[in-house]
Symmetry: C5
Subunit: 254 residues, 5 copies
């Protein structure tokens, strides 16, 4: 569980509810038809914008934002350097048992290919195709949330226009104008909330998660290439450490 995302969402919710309660109470801010037109309408527009297969993984994608499958990069470097040390001493075939127990599917696939004696160029090509395709798919999924942001805002505006027209057509009772306009504004408010609390921020964190994952895959490709060409483990570690922030770098050789 990534606490930042959850704490952020709770913080906004508390502030919004408190500021509503301090005025006229929560009641006037809740209007089911307005919720339906903004949420339902924007999800309808998302269904037009994306493939059904992408929409089906909507919740799964949201969960990645709040509970990412993180890879400990220092652990990964240690593991790759360990593999390099073993391969240098006993040959690359000695890694067969480690590969079978490897949980990271990407590393497992690459190492298996290296052990099977594939050419370095074809291993790199295959792994890079996989890395790029995965990243493209993830970006396409994150785009659902950034599109949601814009579409919710637009449905909010459409809802407010529908409400305003109804109000203007019906101005016989002046005392009803204020509340009618208040209700008309609710859809704009809902749209802005969905867009700026869910849509935009979730799309942003999904982009960061995807970059993190791509970086780990790049480190794995670098590692496998080094192991196969029999580089010194110390040199491999130095190269992998330069992917990290300076304060994260801990060498196991010192």
């Amino acid at each position: 569980m990534d606490l930042g995302t959850v704490i952020g969402l709770v913080l906004i919710l508390v502030l919004l509810v408190a500021s509503m309660a301090m005025g006229v109470g929560i009641g006037p801010y809740i209007d089911i038809p307005s919720v339906l037109i903004v949420v339902g309408g924007s999800i309808g527009a998302l269904m037009v914008s994306f493939k059904p297969a992408q929409m089906k993984s909507f919740v799964k994608i949201f969960m990645i934002a709040i509970k990412p499958p993180q890879e400990d990069r220092m652990e990964l470097i240690k593991k790759l350097v360990g593999f390099a040390t073993k391969a240098r001493k006993d040959g690359i075939l000695a890694l067969e048992s480690e590969v079978n127990n490897e949980p990271n599917a990407f590393l497992k696939k690459g190492l298996s290919m290296a052990i099977d004696g594939n050419e370095p160029d074809s291993i790199r090509e295959l792994l890079e195709i996989e890395m790029e395709q995965t990243s493209t798919r993830h970006k396409g999924n994150a785009a659902i949330f950034s599109q949601w942001s814009g579409l919710a805002g637009a449905m909010g505006m459409i809802g407010t226009l529908i409400g305003l027209v109804a109000m203007l057509m019906n101005m016989a009772d002046p005392s009803a104008i204020g509340p009618s306009m208040a209700v008309a504004l609710l859809t704009t408010m809902y749209g802005a909330m969905i867009g700026n609390i869910f849509g935009g921020p979730i799309a942003n964190i999904l982009g960061i998660r995807n970059d993190d994952e791509a970086l780990v895959k790049e480190m794995i490709i670098t590692g496998i290439m080094s192991i196969q060409s029999g580089d010194a483990p110390r040199a491999l570690e130095a190269k992998l450490l330069s992917y990290l922030a300076p304060n994260e770098r801990v060498s196991q050789f010192n």
Copy 2:
């Protein structure tokens, strides 16, 4: 038929009509001159923005959004691996009969060239030109819908300004101000609807469809290059599978 797009459009329509009906009824929201200025005006502006040939295929492009010519990627991989197996055993000339029955024009063209003994580099160059040109044309067509989104919004605003000026010039009867302003707002509402229900979402799904098609073509080029150079069918399958999402990958060799 791609259900997502259709269900999405129906869902939005139902929600909008229901929210109008709950207020003052559908009637006040329909104003033919306003529809004409927004729809006609934005299509006029599209005719200035694009070539007649592009505008003519407006409906055809829209149909691609809701009914895409999809290629089953697993079937394609199976077929390419089958071709590779046969070409390896009996030589590439043995593929002649398969090529003649091949429905995919892009694959057919590439394979014919390989059988005719063209150089791999010139086959790749020709197929890549075709892939890029097709993709450029498709993006140009999808741009009609994204431009429509902006132009409909602008024509809606212009319509509202025309209505507001008429209303402000004629404020003798205070009871007419409300309804006049309501009518003036209708063009903005129509513009927002066209832009955010048709324009934007359709442009987005067309972009996704185009990326899908380009990916299939990339897989075909990879496949033909492998078949011509006599790669092992197993290696070709591994490479092609890395274009798919992990949960879609099914090897025919296991």
Copy 3:
């Protein structure tokens, strides 16, 4: 004459005039000082934004949008394939008379260089420099229209603010408020019209025209390279046809 652009402009004009006439008539929508501030002001801002040489060709650029110098691509392919056939049979020097009568300056220049015996690499380099520089100049010119779009909108807003301030300063006579505000809104309306009927759409079609021209030049470069290296006319035609849409392709060898 490209009918699409002209029909589009006429259609919008008719719709706008009709919608004005149906309300308070055309008269109230015409205000010469407002026209001056939006048109004059935005052209002034364009003169700050671009070089005098670019502004001078303003009308010439506009004419390209409505009356483009189109090259028939099938004719071009036939001509290039004809050249390739002749060059293969009688040597490249045999093309001298064709070159002298060639109307397309770009093709003429490239072929002359080939006949004069220049290196393929230096011909390609020179033609590509010319192609890129032309495209860059054209994009710079098209940018005048997209900038106009934004600047006209801004001058419209400035004009409305000037009018609003005058109105607010002078609210003694309530019956004058409506008409004053109407006049103030006119500049915003003019700005939106210029931006969304002329500015944006013209910039868009100019971009498409430029891409079309660049594509033709790319085909010519491909053709000249093939003629010089003595490729088979059939292979050259296949390569050139892949630049076209599938339904446009007609081979002269079948």
Copy 4:
């Protein structure tokens, strides 16, 4: 002096002053505190956004927009072709005296390196570093004006909000509401004027000036490479002419 920019600024100024004078006169549009908050506030925000060294050259950068240091391209081509002719006849060392009198620092530096016998690759690398770094610095400077555009608009909005709040807090005297609101709107008007008359257009012309300068440098690099490798002057001229627009090209060999 580049007349376009100056004429443009004068034209806008005249139109704005005239349109103000025709209404309530110039007086009501001038409010020193509003000018201070928009101009001072946006320059303050620019000081946060850029380095002091960049802000110091604010006026110098503005002068480049209205009085650019232009290089006559035809003269440059003649000069480079002249150098090539001389170098071919008498050897590259014969250019020493020309180099000493060369006013263009970039050309002087490159030619000196060529005469000193540096490797073509290292001359090209050094000149390209200088060209790119200069262009990056210029773009960073032009960004001051495009940022100013946005920040002036934002400070205008903040000023209007400050004024509106003051007005709304103090609605006892209805006759004061109009003028108070007029004053509140002035900051938005100033912001829009700065952004769309100075900020945006100046940033645009600076970008064009920078592209022009980079193009001249590219021509110089091409020229020096040709002179050093002893290309025929005629071939060099043909290559350099393809950087110009067709109607600007005048060969000295015809």
Copy 5:
């Protein structure tokens, strides 16, 4: 301490406070719940948008904007040229003592690798990975401030909508409408202030700082490659000076 940033912030603060004080005084512009919803809400949305590790360095990143760790580029060039001179005379191993006292970690790392006899290609690769990764991390951090700009504006709008709805629901007392609306507008004002005084400008200066740092690293890589390949110190200086603006260049050889 970079004075520009601090002076800019103080200047804006003084102008804003003065313009408030001149109207209704500072008091009415301060509303704690409004501050909470804009500042708290936007920081909550930032916590959803970024990883906790990035948010933790929020203050540290802000300090880089106002107090950057600047490298004197002329000093760096002198140092690198000095190293090159020594390495050319006494061999690269003679630089060992200088390296140990080198404060710049990036230069130290690269030189150590060169002294240890690593291949130039692998030194360059490792240093470029580190340079790119650092730059990517910095851009990700600067993005916090540009996102803050948008999210603060959005939370301001949401706050104003909440206030407007409360006001419209409760219009019994007409004299309260003005002040209620004034309070509702405060959140929009706070949002615009945060976005355009902190968010945007800080993000901009962080981008400039990052480009400066990357440029210094590029110069260091160029220097180390030259030292290792034994280039002439004069040639190295000429290359490094071309990274600077012409008026900054001072050669130590003249």
